[in-house]
Symmetry: C2
Subunit: 105 residues, 2 copies
């Protein structure tokens, strides 16, 4: 069993919150920009930059649409994004599950 590696793109705390939130919604559903802003506590610009980073990594898909009167940006996780997130979760679980009574390497 090879130890899973850390994913620094996902590990960053704001992006970790984003990926966690996206991963928690049912497949093929998305979250709105404003919702992510509330979840992460980031400013508009900062959140936009993090989303760009995640999109550049191929982990999320950004969709811009107009619903009635207002613009709405929705974000959904991609298959690669889910895989990467799950892999990082496995890495974290490795760390978190290290028990005081387990001298096993």
């Amino acid at each position: 069993m090879s130890a899973p590696a850390a994913n620094e793109v996902i590990h960053q705390s704001v992006r970790l919150k984003i990926m966690s939130a996206l991963n928690a919604v049912p497949r093929s559903e998305a979250l709105e920009f404003a919702r992510l802003k509330a979840i992460t506590g980031a400013t508009d610009g900062n959140l936009g930059a993090h989303l760009t980073t995640l999109e550049g990594a191929g982990y999320i898909k950004i969709v811009k649409e107009f619903v009635g009167k207002k613009p709405r940006t929705t974000v959904a996780v991609t298959t690669a994004g889910r895989r990467a997130f799950e892999s990082h979760v496995a890495y974290l679980r490795d760390i978190l599950d290290a028990a005081p009574t387990t001298p096993q390497t």
Copy 2:
């Protein structure tokens, strides 16, 4: 609020590895500098700086001693360090638990 907060001191990846490794050893035991270097993959200087950060936060105790001919630096987690680590673990679990991993079977 019931949601635990992130601890940025511990969240940093090298320090997370350090705290995880220290938390995994039995109470009142310690790890050697060289062991931590192998675990984290950091250089001497970098590891020393991270240890200083953790010590400054009160999370670890650094003990320098001479054993026979050689200097040995050992590092042990403090009570506050365990608490902080456990708190951060709770925070991460909050995030991870929202992420159903692909069932292996």
